[in-house]
């Protein structure tokens, strides 16, 4: 069902039998599984989740206070769908695709219930530019025309999936609303700018390919050590306060995707407000246009109805798939998937289903993998290539990664960014633990980094990993005997590793320059530290005491490269390396 079309209501309406929180049962409702229904006098939106004999169980997407048995339930006969068409970018939706700004104008600052609004503006006209001519053959998925949706994105009007296709009979340029026909086909089918699609079903593609391009995030630890591919999946688990949301937001701001769908699932209201306030003002690092021009926000905060929290990730991924069909690289951030899983648990427990691990329903793993499988690098029906990268935050209770949501997520995703409360406590941000995290895309992405950034990319990275590993081992000894008991070369390694941590891995998401670090600069900082390492070990070899090496004036300036403007970084690094070299060589 879509909010745009509330036409038919057949005589298969039912009557409420019982109400318990978001779960309502109704009798005599001739509905199918997952049909959308309107519950009670106020017409609260709900979805059928169980049918047993004459009794239908419904999860309601709104607060059910004061709803009483005996009130009517109206069936729409259609599953939960979203409206797809121009106007979704630069918009903020709730979990069932109601635009929050429209809701605000209808009912004020507080979210009341029983109010409906179409997902895309039905009145607004768009300038449609045909991409095909009369007489051309088109089939499902083909582009018939384009619309300038925002300054950044050209929206492609597609022949909806499932259409038979045929010869274009009429098509013309002009101003149209999303409900007007822009193209008619010989098959008699009419194409409008608006499509509908059921959220729980993946949109069709031709095939899924192995991703080979990175989703460049501008975050040094991610690009440098644990890269994510365009079309890849990643999980960010971490206890509260470890920076999940800041990392997710940095990705939403700086990742080099064409489209960003940001799903705030059961998180804080103020955080969503921050996104709404910040994004229009921040420039997209690729195009320079406002970030909102490529962003669709879905906000279902923790105190909004729980059933809508369950559906919001599906709403998000369906919108992502629609833009992928146009050939765009889409990145979807879901913050947090644990809240989604908990919504499933809550509904499941109200249904009195037999619980699986920790009270989560037995189908938790299946739902998670179904969702993450909708990510990937695809060849679309129209021959273009598009991708959906999914980055899911996970909020494990007590920071314990052995809990079901984290474990089931890790079985599916190929990139794991483990957030660490110890790092967060010492304000090492992003608090991503370099020992525990991994990216299985590393090898398939290396060729890209070597071709585009530097031929030594993977080699230098390996040096950094080795140094950090060695530091980890040495730290254990230091914990027992103190740093001064170590031999000089090991003390020097600790010093180099410290620069790797402080000057390279740490990144300040709130600093105007440092918040986005292009991969070139990521590499420059690393080579600068490596240059220091090489020179320092040469000095040590020549007999210079380690204390004199580590206290040279130039070394602490390694920490300043990150905050040096990107275009000056190269000169700064060259200058710094020279200085380190000369200061160290002076010593012997």
């Amino acid at each position: 069902m879509s909010q745009a079309t509330q036409e038919q209501t057949v005589d298969d309406d039912g009557v409420i039998d019982s109400v318990s929180g978001p779960v309502v049962t109704a009798t005599d409702l001739g509905a199918r599984m997952n049909d959308v229904v309107y519950v009670g006098e106020e017409g609260l939106m709900g979805e059928v989740i169980e049918i047993e004999g004459n009794v239908t169980t419904i999860q309601v997407y709104e607060e059910t206070s004061d709803v009483a048995p005996g009130e009517p339930v109206e069936n729409t006969g259609e599953p939960l769908t979203v409206d797809l068409g121009p106007g979704m970018l630069d918009t903020i939706y709730d979990g069932v695709q109601r635009p929050l700004d429209v809701l605000e104008s209808q009912m004020g600052a507080f979210l009341d219930r029983g109010v409906d609004a179409p997902g895309i503006d039905l009145e607004k006209t768009w300038t449609f530019t045909p991409a095909v001519e009369e007489g051309d053959e088109v089939s499902a998925g083909d582009v018939v025309g384009t619309v300038d949706e925002t300054v950044s994105i050209e929206h492609k009007v597609l022949v909806p999936p499932g259409y038979e296709g045929g010869t274009v009979e009429s098509i013309e340029e002009g101003e149209f609303t999303v409900e007007e026909t822009v193209t008619t086909l010989s098959s008699g089918e009419e194409i409008k700018m608006r499509q509908e699609w059921p959220v729980r079903e993946a949109r069709p593609t031709v095939e899924k390919q192995t991703p080979t391009k990175p989703l460049v995030s501008g975050q040094r630890i991610l690009d440098g050590l644990f890269p994510l591919a365009k079309g890849g999946t990643a999980a960010i688990p971490g206890p509260f306060g470890s920076g999940k949301t800041v990392t997710q937001q940095s990705l939403a701001k700086f990742a080099d995707a064409d489209i960003v769908v940001y799903v705030g699932c059961g998180e804080r209201g103020n955080e969503m407000t921050e996104v709404i306030d910040d994004f229009p003002e921040l420039p997209d690092p690729q195009s320079g246009n406002p970030l909102m021009a490529r962003t669709c926000l879905i906000a279902n905060t923790s105190n909004m109805p729980v059933a809508a929290r369950e559906s919001c990730v599906y709403t998000g991924i369906t919108i992502a798939e629609y833009y992928r069909d146009m050939g765009y690289d889409v990145a979807l951030m879901a913050d947090s998937t644990s809240r989604w899983a908990e919504a499933m648990r809550e509904i499941s427990s109200r249904l009195e289903e037999m619980p699986g691990e920790e009270g989560y329903p037995a189908y938790l793993a299946a739902r998670l993998s179904e969702f993450y499988e909708r990510a990937g690098y695809f060849v679309n029906a129209n021959g273009t290539e598009g991708s959906i990268s999914v980055i899911g935050a996970v909020s494990p209770p007590g920071g314990d990664f052995s809990e079901p949501v984290t474990q089931n997520t890790l079985r599916i995703v190929k990139t794991f960014w483990a957030l660490d409360s110890d790092l967060a406590e010492r304000r090492h941000f992003p608090a991503i633990n370099w020992d525990e995290s991994y990216s299985l895309y590393r090898n398939q992405l290396d060729p890209w980094f070597e071709a585009e950034i530097d031929a030594d990319w993977s080699e230098t990275r390996q040096w950094a990993i080795d140094t950090l590993d060695e530091e980890g081992e040495l730290q254990e000894i230091v914990q027992l005997v103190g740093k001064d008991a170590l031999p000089d070369d090991q003390r020097l390694t600790l010093e180099v590793a410290r620069y790797l941590r402080e000057a390279w891995l740490q990144q300040n998401a709130f600093h105007d320059v440092d918040r986005y670090c292009p991969p070139e600069k990521t590499f420059q900082i690393l080579t600068a530290i490596k240059a220091f390492n090489d020179e320092a070990f040469a000095a040590l070899e020549a007999g210079v005491p380690v204390d004199e090496i580590t206290t040279i004036d130039a070394a602490p300036r390694l920490n300043r490269i990150a905050t040096t403007p990107d275009d000056e970084a190269e000169a700064f690094v060259a200058d710094l390396t020279d200085e380190i070299e000369s200061q160290l060589q002076e010593q012997y």
Partner: protein
């Protein structure tokens, strides 16, 4: 009004009643016992034919002949500005012997969610006068910042100190350019606290004259547990009214959220629900969110609701579901620490696990001071380093450590005694807090201050001269 005498089952806090007409979910019920006493309850499950009622004031004395009246509406809180200065019980009835409350409006206690597009992002610094909070975990208007404590720790004193001292410094409020500064009010919700604790709060409120600008809701330890599930909602309904309709800046203190969650568990158990972690209901996250999320600011309205919920972690365990779920909803947390408390540090705030998520936007030039963010970062890093070294000292002794390590150890000690341990009645301006911070940071050589902008070091660093000889000694 529908009245029944058809109670079929009484179990713990629940009463089941047969009905022959539809009763709304969440509807309010009066139950009259044979002795003529009226108990208030709420519909937990509405089915055709019967309803389950949760009785707030306990089911003792209710029998199957008691009469049940359905009031045909959901729970409401009578609100008026006159509530300021009043003391009410956990269900909102006055217990201070004052006149009845003449409501201006009656608001549903299950507040609606604030539309995220209508929110105004909180970035107005509140000066609490407590260095550990102002300097390192800054509170802003519209934030929800809980105090994570445990039994036997002085969390109440800290809450009172904040309530007493909280102000918005002049410069910051001038920026807003409003003609008249909105008034400050405290809405205090006690859930299951002891009479003794309640007296402490009341004495402090009366002594400092804070009561005039406060509304107090008291559900004491021996009051019915189920009543605790409505108290915070009454509190927040009152706070929202004062903030968004009467332009007050409201500080809400809720203590103790652990008792609230215990009451939730009790109801869940009585309803024979499938329990989640440690027997707490699976919907506890949603339920807590409905409380905590009722903090914030709204575009175009003067007032604000700032929440400081207090919870005691059972067994000092921060992974317990109550602190854990709270931490995932609130915008940070302040840890009260047992070890610091036994060292007589007051307030015993452990800054390392503490956090204020909204800090970054509430501080800096024009809000607090330009060096605030960098200084706070550097303090964190240096104190964490000092803490690590303390473990090491236990094994190898101080002599075995380098000069630089010893400096960090001294730093950590002075950090606790000079910055954190300020005493329960000292009110520090933010500038003072930052100046103390610079004094401490100046123990470290300039080159170690890698989190601070070079220009700021130049302006504020006061240690240059002393650090030189120390460095010479290190070689």
């Amino acid at each position: 009004m529908k009245e029944y005498q058809t109670i079929t089952e009484i179990s713990g806090p629940l009463v089941f009643v047969e009905t022959d007409e539809p009763i709304g979910y969440d509807e309010i019920v009066d139950i009259e016992t044979p002795s003529g006493e009226i108990r208030r309850g709420q519909v937990l499950e509405a089915a055709s034919g019967y309803v389950a009622i949760q009785v707030f004031e306990g089911t003792d004395g209710i029998d199957q002949d008691s009469s049940v009246r359905f009031l045909g509406e959901t729970m409401k809180m009578p609100v008026t500005e006159e509530l300021l200065g009043r003391v009410l019980d956990g269900s909102g009835d006055p217990i201070d012997g004052g006149p009845d409350i003449v409501p201006e409006e009656r608001h549903d206690i299950v507040g609606a969610a604030i539309n995220p597009t209508a929110r105004e992002y909180p970035e107005e610094f509140i000066q609490t006068g407590v260095s550990a909070i102002d300097g390192m975990n800054t509170l802003v208007r519209g934030q929800k910042l809980p105090i994570f404590s445990a039994s036997g720790l002085p969390h109440n004193e800290l809450a009172l100190q904040i309530a007493r001292q909280a102000t918005v410094p002049e410069e910051a409020s001038d920026e807003e350019g409003d003609d008249e500064e909105s008034e400050f009010a405290v809405v205090f919700g006690a859930m299951g606290i002891t009479a003794e604790e309640a007296n402490e709060f009341m004495d402090d409120f009366e002594r400092t004259g804070a009561l005039e600008r406060s509304v107090v809701f008291m559900n004491l330890a021996d009051d019915p547990a189920v009543e605790r599930t409505v108290t915070p909602r009454m509190v927040l309904t009152t706070a929202e009214y004062l903030a968004f309709e009467k332009d007050y800046h409201v500080l809400v203190i809720l203590t103790d959220m652990t008792n609230y969650c215990e009451a939730l568990r009790e109801i869940g158990a009585a309803r024979e629900e499938v329990p989640g972690r440690r027997g707490y209901p699976g919907y506890m996250y949603t339920d807590l969110a409905q409380i905590y999320e009722r903090a914030g600011r709204i575009d175009g309205r003067e007032g604000s609701v700032t929440q400081i919920p207090i919870l005691t972690m059972p067994g000092d365990d921060e992974t317990h579901p109550i602190p854990d779920l709270t931490g995932y909803i609130t915008e940070g947390q302040i840890y009260v620490d047992r070890a610091l408390n036994s060292q007589d540090v007051s307030p015993p705030i452990n800054v390392l696990p503490s956090l204020s998520r909204l800090m970054d936007d509430g501080i800096g030039e024009g809000l607090t001071r330009e060096d605030h963010a960098d200084v706070s970062d550097q303090l964190y890093a240096a104190y964490a380093e000092g803490q690590d070294l303390r473990d090491l000292v236990n094994i190898v002794g101080r002599e075995a450590l380098s000069e630089s390590d010893n400096r960090y150890l001294d730093f950590a000690d002075r950090f606790e005694t000079e910055l954190i341990d300020q005493g329960g009645h000292t009110d520090r301006e933010i500038d003072e807090t930052l100046d103390i911070a610079w004094e401490l940071l100046s123990m470290l050589p300039e080159t170690e201050l890698n989190r601070i902008d070079e220009e700021l070091i130049e302006e504020y660093y006061v240690g240059g001269a002393e650090s030189e000889p120390v460095e010479a000694a290190a070689d």
